[in-house]
């Protein structure tokens, strides 16, 4: 069939809305970083432009160790996550695995556990001196304080990025290509490696990129596990600088982060090159009901295997968290030590718990909804218009994601503690600044996920709509929105989960009356909590909240959407 030629003006669609989206991106994602870096390069002793802080960092030998270790850990985590997520996604969507829908939810839930709490649970389970797993086995086999341990713990949360990205890609993808191959006599493995894998490769790369950047910029888990394991990472170093307390420390932290950002920039540009080459438009208008592959005699072993995996990444850490939550004194195993005292304390003993839950819910839902929508607009500009420089949008939006949370918070304080953009009311000490922080930090999730979506959808569909006289909004409603729903839902949850319990940025940006689940977590962990179980109680609340919302989404969409 010959393609219908339509001349696209450079920015097609609702121009004011798209322009607004792009402006928003620049004022909140790019501007704060420009301000911060400007301060770093113009505030050296003696004034004027100078590379003083950067030079100081580059002179220190430990910087190179940190860069090398960060590369190793991020690469290792990305590989392990891909290794876990690819077969898992394929089995969950394309085969007749029993209980696939429920397993899907369970496999996505580990990401709802705040990584900080999850890491403490893993230390509890697998520390070399008296980890529960080691005690059960009778000798010290697992050592969470190691390269392998750090990669494993990070992967056990981050594999969700790739999994969700792949699940939505597979959901959208026309399976007739695979069927054609199968009918031509290809074995399932051949079909997978020759057809399925190349087609989901862009989604895989997007997810892998998120994992790579997240593990390079992550603070909490490396601090908890990396330091005892003596693994010196870039974020350890940034953390040390920031915690130094001096102005100099802040500048050094920002300078080192700019190195981390540069590093991310290179990877993002490479990624775009790669994606451009690899993208195929595989979603056409024809309804496709994938015929499921019969796993045959592998069905039950694989089902058991996945159950074991769920046990490992969800049940085991949850068990650790549950024991912590129920113990009135940590580390004492006697029957009378278990009870609901911590729950009572969190729900009735701390006056701000209801307000914190309400604030976090508002902020989480608000940030997830707005960022998903904005991400979709920006992805649209990138994939379906010919605007010059559109590829930069994605890169700009990824900067806050690739920067450590503290640095994002610093940039926001420096840029927004005065009147908004020089004239508006100040956002500082209002919930708006938290909302903004969550939106910019996690915007990348929705740009990546919806980007894969737009990339997969054949242009001929929108063209057909347009030729039939549909406006942009009608096209959005009838073509893109329905086809993108799996991506949008995935993006929404990917943003909601971390935003609901965000801690690093929140602690610095919060103010009176602005308690969130994150600030509560911080307080409980740091001191308010005599028994040490309060943070675990909150972690359970967070997981239940995510599971509940997921259940509601599934119920309302009659099982079609959700994790």
């Amino acid at each position: 069939m010959k393609k219908i030629e339509i001349k696209f003006p450079s920015l097609q669609g609702p121009v004011p809305l798209l322009t607004l989206g792009i402006l928003f991106l620049f004022t909140v994602c790019v501007y704060p970083f420009v301000v911060l870096l400007g301060k770093v390069f113009f505030s050296a002793e003696g004034g004027g432009f100078s590379f003083q802080y950067l030079a100081e960092i580059l002179e220190s030998a430990s910087t190179y160790t940190a860069i090398l270790n960060t590369l190793l850990i991020a690469t290792g985590t990305t590989l392990l996550c891909s290794f876990i997520a690819i077969p898992l996604a394929w089995m969950l969507v394309r085969t007749n695995l029993p209980g696939a829908s429920r397993l899907r939810s369970w496999c996505s839930l580990p990401y709802a556990i705040p990584p900080y709490i999850g890491a403490i649970a893993w230390i509890y389970l697998a520390n070399p001196s008296n980890g529960i797993l080691n005690l059960l086995l009778g000798k010290s086999i697992f050592n969470v304080y190691s390269f392998g341990g750090l990669i494993w713990v990070m992967s056990s949360f981050f594999f969700t990025f790739i999994l969700l990205s792949l699940l939505s890609a597979l959901d959208r993808m026309d399976s007739s290509l695979e069927e054609a191959a199968r009918l031509s006599g290809a074995r399932p493995t051949q079909v997978f490696f020759r057809i399925t894998l190349p087609l989901i490769l862009p989604a895989l790369i997007s997810g892998a990129l998120l994992v790579f950047l997240a593990s390079a910029a992550s603070f909490g888990v490396p601090a908890l596990i990396g330091s005892p394991a003596r693994i010196f990472l870039m974020t350890t170093k940034i953390y040390t600088f920031q915690k130094m307390g001096s102005l100099r420390g802040i500048y050094l932290a920002a300078a080192l982060s700019s190195l981390l950002l540069l590093f991310a920039l290179v990877i993002l540009v490479l990624n775009q090159r790669l994606i451009k080459k690899l993208s195929f438009q595989v979603v056409s208008g024809k309804a496709s009901r994938p015929s499921l592959i019969d796993l045959g005699r592998w069905k039950n072993p694989l089902f058991l295997g996945i159950l074991c995996f769920v046990g490992l990444v969800l049940v085991l850490p949850l068990g650790g968290i549950l024991i912590t939550a129920l113990s009135s004194v940590q580390g004492r195993f006697s029957f009378d030590n278990f009870g609901l005292q911590n729950f009572r304390n969190v729900f009735f003993g701390i006056s701000e718990t209801p307000r914190a839950l309400k604030n976090s819910l508002i902020l989480g839902v608000g940030a997830a909804t707005f960022a998903t929508f904005l991400g979709m607009l920006l992805s649209y500009v990138q994939w379906k218009t010919k605007l010059k420089g559109r590829r930069l949008l994605d890169i700009f939006a990824s900067l806050p994601y690739a920067a450590p949370g503290t640095v994002v918070a610093l940039a926001l304080i420096i840029s927004f503690s005065g009147p908004f953009l020089g004239f508006g009311p100040s956002l500082y000490n209002t919930l708006w600044i938290l909302w903004l922080a969550y939106v910019i930090k996690f915007l990348s999730f929705s740009i990546r996920t919806t980007g894969d979506g737009f990339g997969q959808i054949d242009d001929c569909l929108a063209e057909a709509a347009r030729v039939s006289g549909a406006s942009w909004w009608v096209t959005l409603k009838t073509i893109w929105y329905p086809l993108m729903k799996p991506s949008l839902v995935a993006a929404w949850f990917l943003i909601f989960m971390p935003a609901f319990s965000e801690l690093t940025m929140t602690v610095l940006l919060t103010g009176p009356g602005m308690e969130t689940v994150g600030t509560l977590l911080f307080q409980l962990q740091e001191y308010a909590d005599v028994s040490g179980g309060g943070a675990a109680v909150l972690a359970l609340v967070i997981i239940c909240a995510v599971a509940l919302i997921n259940w509601l989404v599934k119920l309302l969409s009659k099982g079609k959407y959700g994790l």
Partner: protein
Amino acid sequence: MMSIFKRPLFWGVGIFMASLVSCTSSETGNSNTLWIYTSLYKDTIEDLTPRLKEAFPGVEFQWFQAGSEEIATKINAEMIAGETKADVLISSDRFWYEELASTGHLHSYQSPTAKGVPESLKNPSGYYSTLSIPVMVLVVNQEMISKEKAPKTFKELADPKWSKKITSGSPLESGTNFTTVAMLEHAYGWDYIKGLRKNEILSQGGNSAVIRRLQRKERPVGWVLLENLLRIQDTDTRLVPLYPEDGVVIQSNVIAITKKKGKRELAEKFVDWMYGKDGQEAMIRSYMYSPLEGYTPPKGAPPFKQIRDKSFKWTAEFIEGVVKKRDEIKEQFARIMFE
């Protein structure tokens, strides 16, 4: 285009924006508001609030409460942006206050009620003074090692006997642990720190992380703030403080007034009040010592005299040295620990 008004998404966003606005506090412009950034515990603030209300009718106290390091970061960022929003600072990193004083960000004030604070615990020019005193002590989990067999001194911890037995907070992450390491290095030199490294000391996080590791028996011995132990003295009797023979490390919980314009007088009155009976007793209820004579020690703690006489000494030379070499000390510590 009108169809957007029919979308639930549109209304959802609208309702959300409205609720955000409603949550936004509008009191920030009040002229009788005092902004206090503090690392005091939440329950201490709740303890203070009704008493302050009584003593300062019509004044609104706004607390930003976080760890000392977060407060330093927030203040520094605000200063980079222009001016800090805080009128009064109360937190525990004395070296940072030295830096703030030397860069002209603090207001000098000698409170009449704080006259009794020993000279070694305040800035000679009145830029800050110690409001309350946390103490770093040794700790043992008696279920693992008996009190009698536990280490008697800080110095002893570098002995191979304690290999794989010790834990502490990290000086890279926590201010009180930084002070402790600086003090120990000053007294015993870097070889001592290397000895700790050889013993594979598990140093990570802040003081609550140390408590967690001891309770869960990851390590039997460590150093930790006395107040963290006193808080659990009734619920967890396994963990007991040990007062080392070579001395405890006295910390300073410092109060200072910033150079922010406007509320100077109110801030000064607040500082006076904090050194008064109500303020000091609240500090003691939070398990810290008062720097003033005539107050009882916190519940379960020995008299302050006993603590003070056996403690590492805060000399002017020590403070000056650490303020200058802060980065070096951290860098050197990291180098030894991460090797």
